[in-house]
């Protein structure tokens, strides 16, 4: 099993190291064998070879079974032109590998209630997954910028093909079927034509899943309900941009964005696994970053790409145990408790694996 590892920028290398450490321990404990190959992506790649996503990196990913990514980006590249920005690596990987679905599970880890800005009774039982379309919509539609006599005009095209909607929606229904059988499809059908197409496709696919309870929700209302009654959501499916916004909002529900993993999948078993959070350049290199999200992303890799469900759960349980024992990085440390370092957290998770 070949895993391409792209540490990226900022805290990326530190947190990826811990995830790799945990995967090595999985090899020991479960008798699996992984081959890790490291490559450049993001700002570092821009600095070294002049492009955020070198062809060699893309090729490596294509020839691997899974990709583990840290994070990309940093202020020094913020003023770069669009094609020379670290985020392009991410967008290029998604498109280049055909990873059209992004799964972001949001679960509340025991003892994390205190780190949330929401009241404990509101987040009790939060356990949802945002299924975001990842290779269509306004992210990849045509963009223009023209100078006219009255100043500049810029456009971005939000475009969806029926089949792009259908495949992500079907996946979401399948996921819902395996969970509590409730699906919320989020759109802005009262304004957008693409949302009206989205809704009609959802309605058509829904006929294949009569056992799943379907609800349509407008994106503005969803942004509100997410904070109002988050525990009532189970599976949320939505288009690319809405998914970007809503999943970041959802990420904060459970205390810290430092806890949340993600998986980006396509038609085959190849997947890209990365934390939801960014590269946090302000704390990079200090050994204080929280590697939980990346470690949990590795667990998602075992589940979705390799089908190693037991090992995946074993990682998740290990993270849960370490947190419960109060070993926490500074971002989620409780007052009066000594925080552990990035490395120490990884060590403890690895030790807990059984």
């Amino acid at each position: 099993k070949k895993i391409a590892v792209l540490p990226g920028d900022g805290i990326g290398p530190e947190i990826v190291d811990e995830a790799v450490k945990v995967l090595r321990q999985v090899e020991e404990v479960f008798g699996y064998s992984f081959e890790f190959e490291f490559a450049m992506a993001g700002g570092g790649a821009i600095d070294r070879v002049g492009t955020p996503l070198p062809q060699s990196t893309l090729d490596l990913c294509k020839n691997s079974d899974a990709v583990l990514l840290g994070a990309v980006g940093g202020p020094q590249w913020d003023e770069n032109p669009p094609d020379l920005r670290p985020e392009k690596a991410l967008l290029g990987l998604r498109k280049g590998l055909g990873l059209y679905s992004n799964l972001r599970p949001v679960t509340l880890f025991e003892g994390m209630e205190k780190s949330s800005t929401l009241r404990p009774e509101v987040i009790a039982g939060v356990d949802l997954v945002v299924v975001r379309e990842l290779t269509g919509g306004i992210y990849f539609g045509e963009k223009t910028r023209v100078k006219t006599e009255e100043g500049e005009v810029a456009t971005d095209l939000l475009i969806y093909h029926e089949h792009e909607i259908e495949r992500i929606v079907r996946l979401a229904f399948q996921i819902a079927r395996g969970r509590s059988k409730r699906l919320t499809s989020v759109d802005k059908a009262n304004v957008l034509e693409s949302s009206r197409l989205w809704r009609s496709v959802v309605q058509r696919v829904a006929k294949e899943f009569p056992d799943v309870e379907l609800e349509h929700m407008l994106v503005d209302n969803c942004a509100m309900q997410m904070v109002r009654r988050p525990a009532e959501f189970d599976v949320i499916v939505t288009e690319n941009m809405f998914g970007d916004i809503l999943s970041d909002e959802a990420a904060i529900l459970t205390g810290s964005i430092g806890m949340l993993p993600s998986a980006s999948l396509g038609e085959g078993s190849l997947g890209l696994y990365e934390p939801v959070h960014g590269s946090a350049p302000d704390i990079a290199g200090q050994g204080v970053a929280n590697p939980s999200a990346t470690i949990l992303s590795a667990a998602m890799m075992l589940r979705h790409t390799f089908g190693y469900e037991e090992a995946a759960q074993s990682i998740e349980n290990a993270v849960r145990t370490v947190l419960r024992r109060g070993h926490r990085t500074p971002d989620i440390a409780l007052s009066g408790q000594m925080a552990v370092s990035t490395e120490e957290f990884g060590d403890r998770v690895a030790e807990e694996l059984v």
Copy 2:
């Protein structure tokens, strides 16, 4: 002073009645004189005359000094084609009256902490205003829907002209100057060309306001920070769709969306004033709707269209006093307290006016 009153659908008529009652009392107390003229808009207009925004209604609004709107919409019109949906009335009014800016102040009323799903210490001191661009962007760009051999394709064009960005951004800077001199401009400049134009215009206009502290924030991050540290925001300016999502999210911070007013303004003094919440058909006609947002929208009318600052504050203080005394509609009633009716709430606010 002529005020066009569009009660609309659902709870619209009930809540508008209370706002008119309060404005009548303002006439008494402050010696002003308003002429109210009622007209149809929304679902009711579709049912009666076959269009959500009759020309006569639009004309009346054009010939008035201000428009007071209740709410439009309801499930019975949800399957209608785009042009026969109640929301079209709203979009038609915004565009037809040139109301390019939407102001949504979010303040925490004393004693409302308990109704919020966020922790009291997180919402303490929340006092922000979302300045949303209202007549441009993806709401009004070209929409297409075509059938191809591989199924349907739908598009929505997000388009911004420099001058559309400039006028809303300048307004936001002015508002920030009159408050705590902090402005957050929200975009998705790492993905959208229109956001990159937006950001460059913001940077240019910023030079005219060296006294205002400017910060750029990506929309996904903003959706997160809004729940994480809402009290740190002051003025937020953003494009149409992002503003729709973020202002609804912000609306929930302070306990109930039933409390939040809005003003939509253009070049002149004409403004449209409406609650942020919708028509709530499920509770319509029962006398339980919370008229606060509509009454506070009337206060915004006095402030922004008529320049009656004292009367505006008097309404706001009256609402505050009534709430503080514990007279609350069911949506925000505290446990163990008798809720008051829509009408009684309006009566009490009117009585408090001085």
